[in-house]
Symmetry: D2
């Protein structure tokens, strides 16, 4: 049994980790920290966990995180990098759901997150936790920087186009029109995500620039091995869970005869959590609700020169907690799907 | 033209007042205060008002509220009672949408609102702004304490039963099972009303006790002229606007032959904003969305001894801002419906 | 392994059965019928099941239901009673999610469902599938009539009050103010449950009379061993899943000193799917979303003579498919919780 | 007073016409037809109209539509073209909210709508009812083909880019990623728009081809006077009203120094129902809810070569009924805004 600690379990990615890990056959929840809720049973805050999680929150100073095999950080940015060194020194693996170990260039990190990076050496060692791209590196990693929710969908959606040796599409002008449920904004008291503000409403936000842009560009360039250019426009959907990314790429003339459906199916053949739908499909976010699956459909409207890739995922699972457990499974030599074969909840 | 001032226009009842008053043919918005947003055009905060409201917020100290004919307080409890005296002395009428002038017994006020009442004399003078009950007193009032959203629906729903001289129902055991959209909780940054918390969810709250209970009991006793007993259970509905109150009253044996449909129709015959639906109807909250109308249906399931009264209103209009304007119309000698004949928005 | 057949798997209770049974360690989905969808893979209709259910729909005439150990009917009323005899004769157990085997009095059945009952003898044998009430009978039953979604919540909510030998409450005047998500109306093309009709809206329906009333009265009388009187008012909530029943019962004077919290806790001590919350709690429907748990809170507002019982369940799980699997577990000698320990999905 | 008839008033565009026209100071609702609902008061079907619309539905054969000044068709495709000739001969103007008079090329119409066009001569005469483009022609038109909801947002969003003499963007590769609330699917009993299907969900649809594509291409080419190429991807949002179109256009090198904010502001300076927001804005659909306003924001992320135009409208108002009334105002010499100055409903 893997002894698991969670730092910051009071947000949505934290409670989702608890949901998944509580039923994971090879993991045992050992510690969960929250300074504010020290001593409170987790199930008092989240009654959905009554009968499943008996643990209480501990103040960080009382939490014996160094006794764990792995610690997840479901915290705001900046927390994991402050504690990672001590844990690694104690032989504990670290999986950060925030951004501390995502962006390799510390100057870029500082620009977008407004804080200096405090442990560039650990950052250099950290592996970007996208198993479909970095599976082998994840197996041996000590530190994982888990991808953001939007970046997961964009990178997996574009990846098959970028890994074919020569370019198939205009890689300098990719477009990602992404739509997210409001749980992506976290469990924070804010006006703009109140039900009375966000329900029966739709809007774009962050068109000028969003933190997931540099992360995604870094990831796509790593996948392609070439420079890419991306326009990313996020939108807020009046739903709880789910991301739908509509991706656009202009075909290069020499790629017009490519069978893109076959290309996508081949690319993800061995990835248990990526499902390429039959040609002509329109994936729905609810088809992956509460599961670690990501579904993709490939379109070429009118047989023209613009590819339209539709990608859905549950932002809290494949976009966060589930992907973290997928990495944990790999890091501890388990089958990648252990504890992650939930049937999506529909309706 | 009535010169209108608004104190605290950044919440939902404030913006609703702005929506209604901006199109009111006899009112002119003159001042709106917000310390925090001093100088900001109102329409920058609420783009829905672009082209309709040209006013900017003023800090209270710069706002010439004493130049207005009437000032609405769309503020937290405690603000109106601090400013009412000065305004009244300047000849300005006051309409408070909060609770400062609702509860006549200052001890009860203090118990439920956690603050002493600072101007019992003005409270004594204040009229409870429920036109269907207090129309004449409102016409001559200087100070109005507007009913809460739930209390409006409960009082109007029970009123015809309580005003027939002798009791028709067991007045000591009334039940109000009420359901409200989340805008009733206000435009405050709080976790429990986030879309990701409140959507696709339903719950009761405040079963132990809710501030609208003493207010409603006071109102019902004033209507009946007798003691009454009420159990009030509020619930939160995943919608933006609307209150649906399901009211239960046990018939007394001597009232079994009453025609309650006729009784309700007669009672509200002259009330332009109360619509008694045909027998057997099920009013929907959307049938009054964004309008000042309240609709009522009377049921007696199985012909038995329990009356079930269904009441719907828009909590922000008849439950707050619209009722405030209705009172203003009466106070200034206008037709009660002036500026309030909006067709509800459906779908 | 239990070989399971499903008749009518295209509705919400059908797909929910598939979700649960696909991951049930002791059941194997063998047949699923649909005349209209003959030959279509189930996962083509419900992409959420891709990778989990490989079965295709069969036309009833091709389906070898008599080879199954148990057959679930997730069909409209009237289908199960037409097929039950042949299945029983072939040694197959039957679990009906519709109403065919719920109401013991065929005249009452005919009055509320508008069709004569075609097999009163099987009806006489059928066991009402509420394990918390009929656990032993279910173990040995050949035919189960599963309770409706509302009746499950009402019966379990009132049960502890009715089983104490002498009456504690006015059993002739029980009130159940119930609220359901729209999945309770089924996956049928109808205008009134369109999102554009039912979202951002709240209404009561069926106040004059609802089919779940006679079923619940029958159940409560069986529990109490006495006549009871019930007023049942259902409401439609703009959410997908979930029922919240707010139950009212007037205390008899001699019961005023009862500790109802203790009484409820004791009553359900051995029921793995009923969770009595701590005193003062307000259960949320999302706290049981996609799980078989039912949660109850007991209130006595103001210490008065009216008990208020709050009950939440997922109408598709404890109110339908999950309860069916719970019965199946009992009928086949499995632990009652086998395949049913899903952690609820929150948020 | 303009005497107005409505054919087919039982759908969402019909009831929205009723809402607007009931309060229009220069129009009088004279006739509304529905074969199925003959004799039923309109307000019985839509209680929101109680007290506002006293009319009852008439069967078409009893409806004296030829006594009207103008008749709106809020019907399925094919109805208006069957009745237009008789009305025009009687001197009645016709405004069709369906597609009968939108597409000028009858072969294209037949291809996308699956029916031959029965009156090409009237089609030839019909004016496309987009006032911001065709204001003068609308004033003198006898027949109006009103734009679809999506096409309105796409054409007004792209128009300023296409009317500058020489091309500013790659007009052969425009992209419109559009999102609509479900009322756009109409008030039809269908499974896919049930609340339990469409809530808490997001999906694209019609990626292969949607009827609004040829209409929009025709409109854009008319605006530009040149061929254009458009990829249109519609999506379904779990909300009732509202369209948000996110439009993408690649700048041509020679247009890099254009001030697009100024260009858009200048273009719409005299259009009372188009509001160009300040630079950097993110329009929300709720900011136009229940109003005829359309709001636009112009973005150029990272100062690069891709323009991102955000457009919001209420699909039932500016996208249908409101635009119809706007055209009516022009056709009858009224101020364009008569009866259309509703303040949007927020929250």
């Amino acid at each position: 049994m893997i002894k698991v600690g969670i730092v910051g379990g009071t947000g949505y990615t934290g409670v989702e980790l608890l949901r998944i890990l509580a039923a994971h056959p090879q993991a045992r929840l050992s510690v969960i920290t929250s300074r504010k809720e020290d001593g409170m049973p987790v199930a008092d805050m989240f009654p959905s966990l009554r009968g499943h999680v008996a643990l209480a929150f501990s103040a960080p100073e009382n939490a014996q995180l160094d006794q764990c095999d792995v610690v997840f950080f479901a915290t705001p940015h900046g927390v994991a990098m402050a504690q990672a060194k001590a844990l690694l020194d104690a032989g504990v693996k670290v999986i950060d759901l925030a951004a501390d170990f995502r962006i390799k260039d510390t100057a870029v990190f500082e620009q977008w997150y407004g804080m200096p990076h405090s442990c560039p050496d650990i950052l250099a060692e950290a592996v970007y936790g996208l198993p479909e791209v970095n599976r082998d590196a994840i197996r041996t990693a000590r530190v994982i920087g888990l991808p953001g929710c939007y970046p997961t969908s964009m990178q997996l959606g574009f990846a098959p186009l970028l890994t074919q040796g020569k370019p198939l599409v205009n890689e300098g002008a990719l477009i990602a029109d992404c739509k997210s449920g409001v749980s992506g904004a976290g469990r924070k008291a804010e006006v703009h995500t109140l039900l009375a503000e966000a329900a029966d409403n739709f809007k774009a936000y962050g068109v000028k620039g969003h933190r997931h842009l540099p992360e995604t560009v870094q990831g796509l360039e790593a996948i392609a091995g070439r420079k890419i250019g991306l326009t990313f426009v996020p939108h807020l959907v009046p739903m709880i869970r789910g991301i739908h990314s509509t991706l656009y790429a202009s075909l290069l003339p020499e790629a017009r005869n490519t069978d893109f459906q076959a290309l996508y199916e081949a690319h993800f053949r061995d990835d248990p959590f990526v499902d390429v739908l039959p040609a002509g499909s329109h994936p729905e976010t609810r088809s992956v609700r509460a599961s670690n699956m990501l579904r993709i459909a490939v379109h070429r409207p009118g047989g023209g020169d613009l590819l339209v890739i539709l990608v859905v995922e549950d932002n809290l699972v494949k976009g966060a907690a589930g992907q973290g457990v997928q990495c944990m499974n790999l890091m501890f030599g388990l089958d990648e799907t252990t504890g992650l074969r939930h049937v999506p909840i529909l309706p």
